[in-house]
Symmetry: C2
């Protein structure tokens, strides 16, 4: 089906090293260092493919462009409403809310996506480094 591609491999590797959920643009700029001819279209195509394959996760926060997460283990995210940063959050499973939703929905609930929002430590302390 899908062939091996050095660009795709590199995108995946890059994401594995980042914990700040970069945008397509940022991924493009970074992977371009190894593949100077890389095009943004290729980045989008591969991010889309990898997301479908479940090898990475797409985060649509509704604020700015989509972000991507190389970590597909179950975890949540917190958006800082001041600086826009997206941070990982490890909490115990809240999948019971799907069961709760199922009882009130006439159809089939398959899952949920949840983003917490608030202020990150740096913004609370008025550091401008975020």
């Amino acid at each position: 089906m899908t062939k091996h591609s050095r660009q795709r491999e590199c995108i995946k590797e890059f994401l594995a090293t980042r914990y700040d959920h970069p945008t397509a643009e940022i991924i493009y700029l970074n992977v371009k260092e190894k593949f100077p001819n890389l095009s943004l279209g290729t980045v989008y195509r591969n991010l889309s493919l990898l997301t479908e394959l479940g090898e990475i996760q797409k985060l649509s926060t509704g604020i700015g462009p989509d972000r991507f997460d190389g970590n597909i283990a179950p975890h949540y995210h917190v958006l800082c409403t001041k600086c826009g940063r997206v941070q990982d959050l490890e909490i115990e499973s809240i999948d019971h809310i799907d069961t709760l939703a199922s009882t009130q929905f006439d159809g089939k609930i398959e899952g949920h996506f949840t983003y917490f929002f608030g202020k990150c430590r740096d913004c609370l302390e008025n550091k401008n480094n975020c």
Copy 2:
């Protein structure tokens, strides 16, 4: 601060009558019937303002354009992954997840947004009317 505007009033009234979470485009087309000179820019500006004022709610699902909800009472939404419909869901409060998140986050959690996804009744039954 903000002046009264007939267009804004009409947008708000229109949203109050709809339970299908229309997009800016759909709102535009409908309100245009009463204000033939209405422009899409005005719709976007007012939707943005009303959202800031907390008089309506913006839904960013990450699939297609943003949608808007005139109902600001606490409730949740279910996205049908087949037809794209967004339906209301009344469940008991799950705000306890904010407390849970707070214990693991170095910063301040102010809230969350959660979208459930699955298949709506019509899609499960293969009706094409959605």
